[in-house]
């Protein structure tokens, strides 16, 4: 069975998860990983499901649900293992300051230039304050002092503050 990635986007309301997973259950699908978020009332969900049917069949059976709940839906096959080979180290990057266009693009560009991989991203606007928090995997052997200096320079240009700390997991 090739796992399928099902993504769903629509105005949040009760019953979206129940309707979508109900169809997948009827098709004999087994939910594996999933995540969802709500931003400004838009509900977005990604489900990884292994099912004895192909993407086209799942799409066809989900179509009436998408129609009824006004959801944008996509289904695509995924190779069994798609996780990024975690060779590097994980860091948490915080950027905050006065809101202005281009902060995410500039910071992401700097990281991409150094082959840093953003594995998780969240941004918030709270009044005048803009907050970006990203989890970043940096390749082994990256020059940290150099990266920190480059981030500081960029932050100064953007008029924001940036800080990077190792995302250490404390073993207990």
């Amino acid at each position: 069975m090739t796992p399928l990635a099902v993504t769903v986007l629509g105005v949040d309301r009760p019953g979206i998860v129940a309707a979508v997973t109900g169809v997948l259950d009827q098709l004999g699908g087994n939910l594996e990983d999933s995540a969802s978020s709500i931003l400004r009332g838009q509900f977005a969900m990604t489900l990884i499901v292994s099912a004895p049917v192909d993407a086209e069949q799942v799409r066809a059976r989900l179509a009436p649900v998408a129609e009824a709940l006004d959801l944008t839906l996509a289904v695509r096959p995924v190779p069994p293992v798609t996780s990024h080979p975690g060779t590097g180290s994980s860091f948490v990057l915080s950027v905050h300051g006065a809101d202005k266009p281009g902060i995410v693009a500039a910071v992401a560009g700097l990281l991409a230039d150094r082959r840093g991989n953003i594995t998780s991203l969240s941004t918030r606007v709270a009044g005048e304050l803009y907050v970006l928090v990203a989890e970043v995997e940096l390749p082994a052997g990256v020059a940290m002092a150099d990266l920190t200096a480059a981030l500081d320079r960029l932050a100064a240009e953007l008029g924001v503050r940036a800080s990077l700390h190792a995302a250490d997991a404390d073993l207990i």
Binding site: V92, S94, H96, G97, A98, S120, L121, S122, R124, A126, G127, E128, L129, Y130, V131, V133, A134, E135, V160, R161, S163, H165, A167, D170
Partner: protein, 162 residues
């Protein structure tokens, strides 16, 4: 009260003379402002617009507090010990709309000076008081809890009941 993104909150504060009249005045202002702010258990000088190494603290009556030194003001604090980290959600008067999950030590020892006399003071704190100490110390280094959150999904919009 200064709110992020005010630059003073991102400035490393300077040591001050604990015996100076301006320091005593600042200490009184911090305590008064803390008292006047509902739910406030600590306040650092940068939060009232002064880049000086002074903060006040009072966790009296807080449900998560164990140690409690009562109302204190510390000038030029130095952290001597921080151990036993624990993750918990915290907020800040200077970031009124957000909260975040932050890993902080559960036991701290702090040394500093008393405003006015300049006498040395040592504070041994645990649990919530230790967290408050570390949060205030961060303010003196131009850091907010936003700089320490555990991950991209560790910042939350604060629910406001007022």
């Amino acid at each position: 009260m200064r709110l992020a993104p005010d630059p003073v909150l991102a400035t490393v504060a300077a040591p001050v003379d604990p015996c100076a009249a301006s320091t005593v005045e600042l200490a009184a202002d911090l305590l008064a402002t803390m008292r006047a702010s509902l739910g406030c258990v600590g306040l650092a000088a940068p939060q009232v617009g002064v880049a000086a190494r002074v903060f006040c603290l009072d966790v009296t009556g807080h449900r998560k507090a164990r140690s409690c030194a009562g109302p204190v003001v510390v000038v030029n604090p130095q952290l001597l010990l921080a151990e036993d980290p624990e993750q918990a959600r915290e907020g800040c008067l200077s970031v009124p709309d957000l909260t975040g999950d932050v890993l902080r030590a559960r036991r701290v020892v702090l040394r500093g000076a008393v405003p006015g006399s300049g006498a040395p003071v040592e504070l041994v704190a645990d649990a919530f008081e230790a967290r408050a100490v570390l949060h205030e110390l961060d303010h003196l280094d131009g850091k907010l809890f936003l700089d320490r959150v555990a991950g991209a999904h560790s910042v939350f919009t604060r629910k406001r009941y007022l």
